[in-house]
């Protein structure tokens, strides 16, 4: 009944509503899309706004930076004027002294300025620059040129009182230019006495180089060598110093080791497990010739002093033109502000350049580091040949100790017994002299191995039985055939013959195998003996070659022993300037 009622119900209204809802939903979706589109537009607009704000901020920062730089530049320009005024006011006369010193040195070189002119000019400057070390130096220099020893001495005393180190360096260099070597040497000693042996600066290193090259005269009174001796003595008293030196030298010496060439000792390489040790000690022994060549090359080389002379003049120039300690704070400020101006007000860049400027000439070394670097790393240390010679001479004791240790450490590894490993044969020799013993032992081993190899290669019991068994069976078969056995007898005969044939066939095979085995072992015996003999011969050669190469260490020690540092240093300025080494 109910079903009937529904089948006739009018659903069109519901359908219409559903269509309407569907349409509304479509409209709603469309609206959502529109909203989405607008949100995207807003998002894009926000991004654009952000970009613009960022750009604005960047431009603002740039503007601020530019403005700051402009301000910095302006301030730096103002400051530099003030600083220079202050410098001029406080130390202007120093500049005058410097200019005069340079002028006098040049005038003296040229020789066309009247002595009176020099004298008048310098005395005035002395009054203008109280406290400045260069002023009395200038007076002393003028007095010296004018041949006024009393005045020169008085002025020198004052100069030394004001700045001993700089005065000593100044007169070292001036005397060097004037070729007054004896005086130059005394001033050098005075200058070096003012130095800290643990903290030598670039100037001192160049001065030592000049001394080593003989540019500062011959140390006939041992002034400089005494100074060096004092430095070394003080350094040696430091805990661990000598040990560290020996270690440094050992490392430097070992760096000259070269690998053994791949040729030679072909049997030992192949038939001795001791070879890696032998190779190592041979490389160690060959080091002696390398070191001797290295030292000989240094001591045979003639030194050129031209570039060194230029460096000395550069030091003199810097010394007379550089600012004094009192001026340093103002000069640093001046330099910084100059950098600010040069970099358009960029203070951070200026600060970086100040740092580079300060550290460039701030390389310090201790005296022994200078010696090691000069002797063993001339490429990186830039040391001259003279300094290399001088460094080796002064470091002789440490080099000798280190070298003796290197030699002994290599000798410690010398194997007393050298293994010989040929196939299954493993034995030892000390000097390669036990050939007959080894060959005998090898033969015994080969005999044992051959016997072991032959042992299983024999006829089996059945195969042995086949011979006599076959004959008996054959006879029995023949008898059977003879007594009317007929075919059966013949068959038994055939079986007997077959067994005999089998015996001889197997026997032949076994004999062949045994012959082959014997031949193989004979070959092993022959080849093995040959290898053992050849290896032993190489052991003899190796021991001889090692002894020869190792004995060259004596030449290195003799070489080092004959270097007398004092004699070397004293004779530096001799015409040959070479140390006698045989």
């Amino acid at each position: 009944m109910a079903d009937y009622a529904i089948s006739y119900a009018d659903l069109s209204a519901i359908n219409s509503y559903l269509r309407s809802i569907d349409h509304t939903l479509d409209v709603f979706h469309n609206n959502l899309d529109v909203i989405n589109g607008r949100v995207n537009d807003v998002d894009q607009n926000v991004s654009i706004v952000y970009d613009r704000v960022e750009q604005l901020a960047r431009e603002f920062r740039e503007y601020v930076e530019m403005q700051t730089k402009a301000n910095n530049l302006s301030k730096a320009q103002q400051r530099i004027i003030q600083i220079r005024q202050e410098l001029e006011k406080k130390f202007g006369h120093y500049d005058k002294v410097r200019r005069h010193t340079t002028g006098i040195l040049q005038a003296d070189d040229l020789g066309f300025i009247r002595k009176e002119t020099i004298s008048t000019a310098t005395e005035e400057l002395m009054l203008d620059a109280p406290g400045y070390w260069l002023a009395p130096c200038l007076v002393a220099l003028a007095a010296w040129i004018n041949d006024q020893p009393d005045l020169a001495e008085r002025a020198l005393r004052e100069a030394i009182k004001r700045n001993d180190e700089k005065t000593s360096l100044f007169f070292t260099l001036v005397c060097r230019r004037a070729d007054r070597k004896s005086a130059a040497l005394k001033w050098t000693q005075r200058y070096l006495a003012n130095q800290d042996e643990e903290n030598l600066d670039r100037k001192t290193i160049i001065i030592l180089d000049a001394f080593a090259s003989g540019l500062l005269g011959a140390d006939s009174e041992g002034l400089i060598s005494k100074q060096m001796g004092e430095w070394l003595e003080r350094l040696s008293e430091k805990p661990g110093f000598i040990e560290n030196q020996t270690k440094q030298w050992s490392d430097a010496i070992n760096l000259k080791r070269k690998p053994l060439s791949s040729g030679g000792y072909t049997y030992l390489r192949k038939y001795s497990k001791t070879w890696p040790i032998l190779q190592d000690i041979m490389e160690g022994a060959m080091l002696h010739a390398e070191i001797l060549d290295y030292f000989n090359a240094i001591f045979d080389q003639e030194a050129s002093t031209e570039s060194l002379k230029a460096q000395l003049d550069e030091i003199l120039n810097t010394l007379v033109t550089e600012f004094d300690e009192e001026e340093i704070p103002l000069k640093r400020k001046e330099k910084f502000n100059q950098f600010v101006i040069d970099f358009d007000g960029d203070e951070s860049l200026a600060a970086k350049h100040m740092l580079v400027e300060q550290t460039a000439f701030n390389q310090h070394k201790d005296f022994t580091q200078l010696l090691t670097d000069a002797a063993m790393k001339p490429e990186s240390s830039g040391a001259s040949i003279s300094t290399q010679k001088f460094s080796i001479a002064l470091s002789k004791e440490w080099i000798t100790n280190a070298y003796n240790d290197v030699v002994a450490q290599n000798r410690m590894k010398i194997p007393n017994e050298i293994e010989i490993n040929v196939d299954t044969f493993n034995d030892k020799t000390t000097d390669g002299q036990n050939e007959s013993e080894l060959i005998e032992r090898f033969n015994t081993l080969v005999d044992q191995e051959q016997a072991s190899a032959l042992k299983p290669v024999v006829l089996s019991g059945f195969e042995k039985f086949c011979l006599w068994g076959g004959i008996i069976i054959g006879i029995l078969g023949a008898a059977m055939a003879g007594t009317g056995g007929g075919l059966l007898g013949l068959a038994v005969v055939a079986a007997g013959i077959g067994m005999v044939i089998n015996h001889f066939s197997k026997k032949k095979k076994v004999d062949q195998n045994r012959e082959n085995i014997k031949a193989q072992f004979e070959e092993k015996r022959q080849k093995g003996s040959q290898i053992i003999r050849a290896t032993l011969a190489e052991v003899v050669d190796f021991r001889a070659e090692f002894a020869e190469k190792d004995s060259e260490s004596e030449k290195v020690i003799d070489f080092l022993e004959q270097i007398a540092p004092e004699q070397y240093v004293k004779k530096l300025a001799d015409s040959s300037r070479r140390i006698k080494v045989q």
Binding site: E243, N404, D405, V407, A408, Q409, R411, M412, P415, N416
Partner: protein, 163 residues
């Protein structure tokens, strides 16, 4: 077995060891002298007298004489008057010229014994490490210490081999 050239009773060696006159000496030494100072002292070239004394180790019959051995040990001691060697120096090894089968001889400082060793016989008391260099290094003799060997050349110069 080693060939005893001269042997003292163990108890005597312990009580009458000239290199350890008092038990407290090594401790005092540690306090007075650090390792670096000891190393520097032992790096110095050996004297001619010391070299001559040590050379007698292999000089045949007279080493049978305990008095001579005492003299040699006294000489070693007087070479380093500021140093107590007991506990530092184990002994001395050098090549033996008695000929085959003997290879090396040793001076055992603690036991005050001179002994000769054949090929293949191991050296006692940590001295074995110096055997090869004593035989083949070309040095006059090798001083064997706890932490190293010191190879002494015929001119008295010293080479140090750590380990």
């Amino acid at each position: 077995m080693p060939k005893p050239m001269l042997n003292r009773p163990q108890t005597q060696a312990q009580t009458n060891n000239i290199l350890s006159t008092t038990n407290s000496q090594p401790k005092q030494q540690t306090q007075q002298m650090n390792q670096m100072q000891i190393d520097r002292l032992l790096r110095k070239s050996r004297s001619k007298e010391y070299m001559q004394a040590l050379h007698q180790l292999d000089a045949g019959g007279h080493v049978h004489n305990q008095h001579k051995v005492d003299e040699i040990i006294n000489k070693i001691r007087s070479e380093f008057p500021d140093l107590e060697l007991t506990g530092i120096l184990l002994g001395i090894v050098s090549i033996c010229y008695l000929g085959k089968p003997y290879e090396v001889h040793t001076l055992d400082i603690t036991g005050q014994i001179i002994e000769h060793y054949k090929s293949g016989q191991p050296l006692p008391g940590g001295l074995e490490k110096a055997r090869s260099i004593a035989m083949r290094g070309g040095y006059a003799f090798i001083e064997v210490y706890v932490d190293c060997c010191r190879a002494i050349s015929s001119n008295g110069s010293v080479s140090v081999i750590p380990g």
